[in-house]
């Protein structure tokens, strides 16, 4: 039984936590832009973190379930409706067969993640489910989902009996909503190798001013618009490694932040790096939104990342218990 795309979205791809071990031949990791939300969606339906999810941008695809399924949507809020009725994010939902899941409005965030209990029957490329758009490999046929695509689902649970004649059923546990916590436009950074080469004024501007995401912001990287920054000396650099979250200074004085589909090497000054714990926050920003940078230190970056991972671990564990209990108790 399948999940069918009845109307394609602007950019919906199969992603996981990334493809590692191939950057030495130019194959970047790809993977979910917001790995935290992707993991959270998997945790809510009892999947392990390596399962593939659908990463959706707005307008997102309309999906048709040919079999009863347990799903969760995390990350951006696109006003999900099941057969026309609103359903929440961050909560597991049982959907009946022949249900249609649609997304009506962009309320918050940039990327929504759909996890389905049991995962999807998709082959791996180089040990990962992630779609690599440049190589045309991985995910579903190496490309974004389009109308009439079908993805085979893997569930071994007969969810039909738990629906109690409802079209859908929202299960009574919920992950805390990422948006409720802190100001999401504040991005913590660590100074990069060429940070000290900035003029004193530019060093101050980096943290003192706000920057706006331009429309040239996608899975490869975000182009920012702000006060132009300047290096003390302009030196030609040779290509060297960069990573997810690296902030480079372009020759025109503007900044670019490398995201999930970034090139493996770069030759522009590396002004700073976004801390891992804030990649998720960054991934939920859309063009025209503003952000501010704040310099932190390595200890804080580590603490915040550990906290985030512990949070995920607790939710994963709690959801597994609740789900087992639900399946056994039945109702």
């Amino acid at each position: 039984m399948n999940l069918r795309i009845i109307k394609s979205g602007v950019l919906d791809t199969v992603q996981d936590q990334g493809r590692y071990g191939w950057q030495h031949i130019g194959i970047n990791a790809s993977g979910a832009m917001d790995r935290f939300s992707a993991e959270l969606a998997n945790a809510l339906v009892g999947n392990d973190s390596a399962q593939p999810v659908l990463e959706m941008h707005f307008p997102a695809a309309s999906l048709f379930f040919e079999q009863p399924s347990l799903i969760a949507i995390c990350g951006a809020n696109f006003s999900a409706v099941l057969n026309g009725e609103p359903v929440p994010c961050y909560q597991p939902i049982l959907v009946n067969k022949y249900s249609i899941l649609q997304f009506e409005r962009l309320n918050q965030g940039a990327r929504a993640y759909l996890a389905i209990e049991g995962g999807m029957n998709i082959g791996k490329w180089l040990n990962s489910y992630s779609t690599h758009l440049k190589a045309g490999a991985g995910g579903h046929a190496g490309r974004p989902l389009s109308t009439d695509d079908e993805i085979r689902l893997n569930s071994s649970v007969d969810w039909q009996s738990y629906l109690e004649r409802n079209e859908f059923r929202v299960l009574p546990w919920r992950a805390s909503d990422f948006w409720e916590k802190e100001p999401v436009d504040e991005i913590y950074i660590l100074p990069g190798r060429e940070f000290s080469g900035l003029t004193e004024l530019s060093q101050l501007s980096l943290t003192g001013k706000t920057f706006t995401l331009t429309p040239q912001s996608d899975r490869m990287g975000y182009r920012l618009l702000g006060d132009p920054l300047e290096m003390q000396n302009r030196e030609e650099m040779i290509s060297t490694a960069v990573t997810f979250g690296t902030i480079q200074l372009l020759p025109n004085g503007q900044l670019t932040i490398l995201m999930a589909d970034h090139q493996t090497t770069g030759g522009y000054p590396r002004i700073a790096h976004v801390i891992s714990a804030h990649h998720s926050r960054l991934a939920q920003l859309s063009p025209a939104e503003k952000l501010r940078f704040r310099i932190t230190d390595y200890s804080m970056a580590e603490v915040l990342y550990r906290r985030q991972q512990q949070h995920l671990h607790q939710i994963r564990y709690a959801c597994q218990l609740k789900l087992e209990w639900f399946i056994h108790a039945g109702h």
């Binding site: 590692y20 071990g21 030495h24 440049k134 490999a137 190496g142 040779i238 580590e302």
Partner: protein, 235 residues
């Protein structure tokens, strides 16, 4: 006495670090990078996710959570990982020679496949034939694969055919051979790019379904050989 190359190690964000042997293109530095790369492939550092070699630097990506749990209490993850990498570097045998392959790469320099060849010749006050001759004259070293899956960075060209990147990137067809500064390179996939395209190889540098995925690897020595348009099409 063992030959040593000075280096420094710096963090690349909270989950990676880079060792830099000196920011220049040189076979000696690149071969030190590749020695370290092979050493780390054989015996990875704890928590290492992958090692990525570049021209004269190598980056180690690590699992922040794993490293954070295993590091000594008094050190940050970077201090610990940097120290472990430094120990490896001190033991590295720079004199050991890694055998390199020699690979012949056929290139068709026909104008129809080389949109920037005449412009480059004009700018450098050479004939098209002279450019082709100079491009094939010397063997090149594969310094790194990056930018695109399988994109091959080669160096260095004769000074007389060096040419800066174009101001505006334009669409480039897979197999195209280009020049940027004194680098020459081969586009493994069709992509927008700013290199000056002077020819095209019929070889498939990257194939997602092939083992190995890329035809060339860092350390290989490349010799370009001119082929005709007919030979290109028959390949």
């Amino acid at each position: 006495m063992s030959l040593t190359i000075p280096y420094h190690i710096f963090p690349l964000g909270d989950s990676a670090m880079t060792v830099d042997f000196g920011s220049r293109i040189s076979p000696e530095l690149n071969s030190a990078v590749m020695k370290l790369y092979h050493e780390l492939q054989l015996t990875p550092l704890p928590g290492m996710v992958e090692a990525v070699p570049a021209y004269s630097s190598l980056s180690v990506h690590y699992d922040l959570l794993y490293c954070s749990r295993h590091r000594p209490a008094e050190q940050t993850v970077f201090e610990w990982m940097g120290e472990l990498l430094d120990k490896r570097l001190r033991k590295l045998d720079y004199e050991e020679i890694i055998p390199s392959r020699e690979v012949v790469v056929p290139v068709c320099y026909d104008i129809s496949l080389a949109p920037d060849l005449e412009m480059l010749a004009r700018e450098r006050n050479l004939s098209v034939e002279e450019v082709i001759h100079l491009h094939q004259a010397a063997p090149y070293r594969v310094y790194l694969l990056g930018f695109l899956p399988g994109f091959t960075y080669l160096g260095e060209t004769d000074e007389r055919i060096a040419m800066p990147r174009k101001m505006q990137p334009s669409p480039v067809v897979a197999g195209s051979v280009g020049i940027a500064g004194r680098q020459t390179g081969i586009y493994s996939l069709s992509s927008p790019g700013g290199w000056n395209i002077i020819g095209r190889t019929p070889l498939k540098l990257f194939d997602k379904d092939r083992e190995p995925l890329t035809l060339l690897k860092p350390g290989d020595i490349i010799k370009f050989v001119s082929i005709s348009k007919d030979e290109f099409e028959d390949h």
